[in-house]
């Protein structure tokens, strides 16, 4: 009796009830560790053992698991919120107010739901960046990357549909901005270019999205169902595939000795979830989710901003028509992202972060990764552009989408009037064609043919001539209309007969204004004597840029083959084209390069 103490715990553990639930003991033996993972439905997605290097936090930062955990938090808080929220326009706003004022812990719950949603969008994007930089999308993991991109789209869509539910001014007009982009889809949108003949405001893409022609109760219930059931269901299915694939394709890092998942990986995951909960709790207790006045279709707030993750696209509306900024570009981004594993034939870089080095590009020192300079640079350029545009849309845009420095007080009394002119269609087309021709490589066969026909120096010379020629064409095609074309808005909407005068006298076209004042001050002879060589110089510089990349382009072509190369270079040129268009707008006051109002088609 003295050597065996009676313990409740030991007694319970020996009962049939206990044994029916827990089929393993709790000793710390390798067998138990295996059973804990293998025998548990929630944990058995994990392997029993994994490599020691794989579980190091600094490899993945736990972003994928964090995304999943945030999804769980959102589901739980969302379900709890559903007990008090009614999706009708006359009830929704009041229910949100009730949650904030009358329901126990309602404000906390609402805040947690909102902030974990924002956090999930950030974490999901960071997870994608991590997977890219560690090369974990390369074969055999391409399909999982595509599933991941789909999950990203679903995350954004979930966030967008949820945004409408509070039914306040912020919600209503943010969704209106997004719905208007749908109306501008090519072919299927009522206000987009090349609208199909059977498309009307009563059956276009926008109508299907919001269930009507204006945002009202039909939209609210539709978004509610999408947000709470339809998309989460599909999301779960895809998450299952995603996690399954991580296991089946084996985790991207498999170096070092193996350790048991229980406890080493599981404990880290659990700590991560705890830390996230703490952060979310503090955030939710300190900062309230925004709620503006009740939704009112008659009054539009100025400015009306889309949710932050779409503000980048809304900012692009300054430089592009809605069908490009809101439909084409996002579609290309998604397709481009999905295509990455299929066009990236470089097998290097899987399982570790890229090592960065300082190199020289011509004479310019650049900080590039050693092993995948092109892929990493292009991808990160895209990511940085995305976030810079969001930053500008959030902090630098005020009423009427005018420019305000961050922190500058907004004024509704500003009288800025921008003078923006279109380049005549022919010249604009010339600029675009020559720009895209910059991407053309010189295939090996052509180079060989040139060498045999015209000597060994010929390929390099031809390449140089091609690029300089294209650069000159671009520069000429831009400056000639700026200097000589007639102003199509004269006399009804412009007081000047030429583009040169109209833009030269404006406040938003620094380059043309400078040229105009040059000619005014020193007379046309001297003025043009300075301007024309300057144009030539610009053409040479553009050509020079092409020459610098010529060798790389040719190598890329040889490596990828024509189809993949065309895809990659087209997407790359479109991405840098966005930057180019921004420059054209800000420095030259150019609105459209090609404008065909009849088809609603403007670039």
């Amino acid at each position: 009796m003295a050597d065996e103490k009676f313990s409740v715990k030991q007694y319970v553990k020996k009962t049939k009830l206990w044994k029916s639930i827990f089929r393993h003991d709790f000793m710390d033996t390798p067998r138990t560790r295996l059973q804990r993972v293998f025998g548990n439905v929630f944990l058995h997605l994990h392997p029993v053992r994994t490599s020691k290097d794989a579980i190091r936090v600094t490899y993945t930062w736990g972003l994928g698991g964090l995304s999943f955990f945030l999804f769980l938090i959102l589901t739980v808080t969302g379900i709890l919120l559903m007990f008090y929220y009614r999706p009708a326009s006359i009830l929704a706003y009041q229910d949100i107010k009730d949650l904030s004022f009358a329901v126990t812990l309602g404000q906390l719950l609402r805040n947690m739901h909102r902030w974990s949603a924002h956090l999930m969008v950030v974490v999901v994007i960071l997870h994608m960046v991590r997977v890219f930089l560690t090369g974990a999308y390369k074969p055999p993991r391409e399909y999982n990357w595509v599933v991941g991109v789909l999950l990203l789209v679903m995350t954004l869509f979930l966030s967008y549909t949820g945004y409408l539910l509070p039914w306040d001014q912020l919600a209503l007009w943010a969704v209106t901005v997004g719905a208007q982009m749908a109306a501008n889809s090519p072919l299927l949108g009522n206000e987009g270019p090349f609208r199909l003949p059977f498309i009307t405001p009563f059956n276009d893409a926008r109508f299907g999205l919001i269930g009507g022609t204006v945002i009202n109760d039909a939209t609210l219930i539709r978004f509610y169902v999408l947000h709470c059931i339809a998309v989460p269901f599909i999301f779960c299915v895809f998450v299952c595939v995603h996690l399954w694939r991580v296991r089946k394709d084996s985790f991207s890092k498999q170096t070092g000795e193996k350790v048991d998942v229980w406890p080493h990986l599981v404990s880290r995951e659990f700590l991560g979830t705890l830390l996230t909960m703490v952060i979310l709790f503090v955030w939710s207790m300190v900062m309230n989710a925004p709620l503006e006045g009740q939704a009112n279709l008659n009054v539009t707030p100025n400015p009306s901003k889309a949710p932050w993750y779409f503000l980048g696209l809304q900012e692009l509306l300054v430089y592009f028509d809605p069908w490009i900024a809101g439909v084409v570009l996002p579609t290309l981004i998604i397709i481009g992202l999905m295509a990455i594993p299929y066009v990236d034939i470089n097998p290097k870089g899987v399982g570790y972060w890229p090592k960065m080095k300082w190199k020289r590009l011509g004479w310019l020192p650049v900080w590039v990764p050693e092993e995948r300079p092109f892929a990493v640079t292009v991808f990160m350029l895209g990511v940085i552009m995305w976030f810079v545009l969001i930053f500008i849309g959030t902090y630098c845009r005020g009423p009427n989408w005018e420019w305000y420095m961050p922190g500058e007080p907004w004024s509704y009394r500003r009288l800025t009037k921008l003078t923006l002119k279109n380049i005549p269609n022919l010249w604009g087309s010339l600029i675009l064609v020559s720009y895209f021709l910059f991407g053309s490589p010189i295939p090996k066969k052509v180079k060989e043919w040139l060498s045999t026909k015209m000597g060994s120096k010929a390929p390099a010379l031809v390449s140089a001539a091609l690029h300089i020629g294209l650069g000159m064409v671009m520069a000429v095609a831009l400056f000639v209309p700026l200097l000589t074309a007639a102003d199509a808005d004269f006399p009804m909407r412009s007081r000047y007969t030429t583009l040169f005068e109209a833009l030269g006298r404006s406040i938003n076209s620094p380059v043309v204004s400078w040229m105009y004042h040059l000619v005014q001050q020193f007379g046309p002879a001297v003025g043009y004597a300075i301007i024309i060589p300057m144009v030539g110089l610009i053409g040479l510089c553009l050509g020079g840029v092409g020459i610098v990349f010529a060798k790389f382009k040719d190598r890329l072509y040889e490596a990828l083959g024509p189809i993949k190369y065309a895809m990659v270079i087209a997407l790359l040129l479109m991405m840098t084209g966005v930057l180019g268009k921004i420059v054209l707008r800000l420095l030259f006051g150019v609105k459209y390069l090609i404008s065909l109002p009849v088809f609603n088609f403007n670039i």
């Binding site: 405001p201 299907g208 039909a218 539709r222």
Partner: protein, 141 residues
């Protein structure tokens, strides 16, 4: 499978709408003199404009902050009393802080020959607003 998905898609496009109709009949086109008519400004918040070759219709709402401008025949412009925005006959901003031209409503002829204005559909882009559903050709005899 494909059929099921397509029928789902059709299911999601409603056949009836619970939206207030923003369209109204504005009388016979012959009854309108050339120029800007303020007949419907108070009740429907629109101006009907007749030119030699047809009709268009403005939504009487300043694009600055939503006040109702007034038409001044002698100065040939709309002037908004709130912050001084001026618009010409085409709706373009010629003075003041308004950021965009005046919106035009869709206009067509109803079956009984009256003008049918639809305020739910608006357009203000030069090039778009002078054609399609936003300009009704009507030759003055």
């Amino acid at each position: 499978m494909g059929g099921w998905l397509l029928s789902n898609l059709r299911y999601l496009f409603p056949n009836v709408l619970y939206e207030p109709t923003l369209s109204f009949k504005a009388g016979k086109p012959e009854d309108y003199p050339l120029g800007i008519s303020e007949k419907w400004k108070k009740t429907q918040r629109v101006w009907i404009v007749r030119k030699a070759d047809g009709f268009y219709c403005f939504w009487a709402r300043c694009t600055h902050l939503g006040c109702t401008p007034n038409w001044f025949d002698a100065e040939n412009r709309f002037k908004c009393p709130c912050h001084g925005s001026n618009f010409n006959k085409d709706g373009d901003v010629i003075a003041g802080p308004a950021p965009k031209p005046l919106w035009r409503c869709a206009i067509k002829r109803a079956d009984d020959g009256q003008l049918l204005i639809d305020k739910a559909r608006l357009e203000n882009r030069p090039g778009q607003r002078e054609q399609g559903d936003f300009f009704l050709t009507f030759k003055s005899a």
